[in-house]
């Protein structure tokens, strides 16, 4: 029994092919591409909202994509407890869709950052995505965003931490979270979070671009493998 990943393409998505490559070539599973105007998830078990600039980031990153026809099905999929993951712009869409709390604002230093960063694995409520990692493990994963500074009010941040919903934090190579390692100035250096049920993950970094040695890191692959392990596929 294999797993089918549904990869959504919005107008302006540009990491959908990277996600497809990660799923099909690196993980060896099946993927279907889902157009934003579709109403059918084509039997996908896992939904990926990829990176890019959906609708040209008009108004706010993710604000328009959230109302795409396919998003009604994606929200229903998430509400059934099935896995939904958003990378980069996909994270922004998940926040705009209220599947995840908070928002992503312009990087503190204003610049678009395209670089390798280190992440510390923290989340304990989402083994669906994280069982392939050890808590505290340090990953090397690329980022590429201008609006990736996670922001939420203190009450929300406290709740995310208390419930083990901070999946990843920006850190240095030793795993220490410092002002310098928090590349975009995110609240509490948060790089990725999960929903309360642990079946929706949003993160600014790109694990789909770190799935084979040729790409410079394989640290993103266990995230996809965790999904396989979880479903017993």
């Amino acid at each position: 029994m294999s797993l089918t990943f549904g990869i959504v393409t919005f107008p302006g998505s540009n990491c959908d092919v990277d996600a497809y490559h990660a799923v099909v070539d690196a993980l060896g599973e099946r993927a279907v591409t889902l157009w934003h105007a579709d109403h059918d998830l084509q039997g996908a078990d896992v939904i990926i909202l990829p990176g890019g600039f959906s609708y040209g980031d008009a108004l706010r990153a993710g604000a328009i994509a959230r109302f795409s026809p396919i998003m009604r099905e994606v929200v229903a999929h998430a509400e059934r407890g099935a896995p939904v993951v958003g990378f980069c712009n996909g994270f922004q869409v998940l926040c705009e869709a209220h599947l995840l709390p908070g928002a992503l604002m312009r990087n503190a230093e204003s610049r678009f950052i395209c670089d390798w960063v280190h992440l510390r694995v923290e989340g304990t409520n989402a083994p669906m995505f994280l069982s392939g990692y050890a808590t505290g493990q340090v990953l090397r994963i690329p980022i590429a965003h201008g609006e990736g500074r996670f922001v939420a009010d203190d009450e929300t941040l406290d709740r995310l931490e208390a419930e083990g919903r901070v999946a990843f934090r920006y850190c240095d190579a030793t795993g220490a979270v410092t002002p310098a390692s928090n590349v975009n100035g995110a609240s509490r250096a948060i790089a990725g979070i999960t929903n309360a049920a642990g079946n929706v993950l949003g993160m600014m970094p790109h694990p789909e671009r770190a799935v084979e040695p040729l790409l410079g890191s394989v640290d993103g692959l266990p995230l996809f493998q965790s999904l396989l392990a979880r479903t017993g596929a």
């Binding site: 108004l59 908070g102 312009r106 922001v151 100035g185």
Partner: protein, 85 residues
């Protein structure tokens, strides 16, 4: 049905870092405008809306801000003017 020009200001919430605003405030300071304490950069949205009254147009604009035009986590909005067009 009458039409109304609805003017909406959306600005980053005070207290949240607005890097664009900070860059502009710094530039103003370097130009000698030392009286500037803070700058925030937002959006000005102008809508041409059908409604039976100015209040109705304003209420529609408020609903639009809450659903789409402003992010409730990071932004505040102000419906600045409603005038018959």
């Amino acid at each position: 049905m009458p039409r109304f020009a609805v003017s909406i200001h959306v600005v980053p919430r005070k207290g949240l870092l607005d890097p664009q605003g900070k860059a502009v405030a710094d530039a103003l300071h370097s130009l000698g405008f030392g009286a500037v304490h803070d700058a925030r950069i937002g959006r000005h949205i102008v809508l041409d809306v059908e409604s039976d009254s100015a209040d109705g147009a304003r209420a529609q604009a408020k609903a639009m801000c809450e659903k789409l035009l402003a992010n409730p986590v990071t932004e505040d909005f102000e419906i600045a003017a409603v005038a018959g067009s």
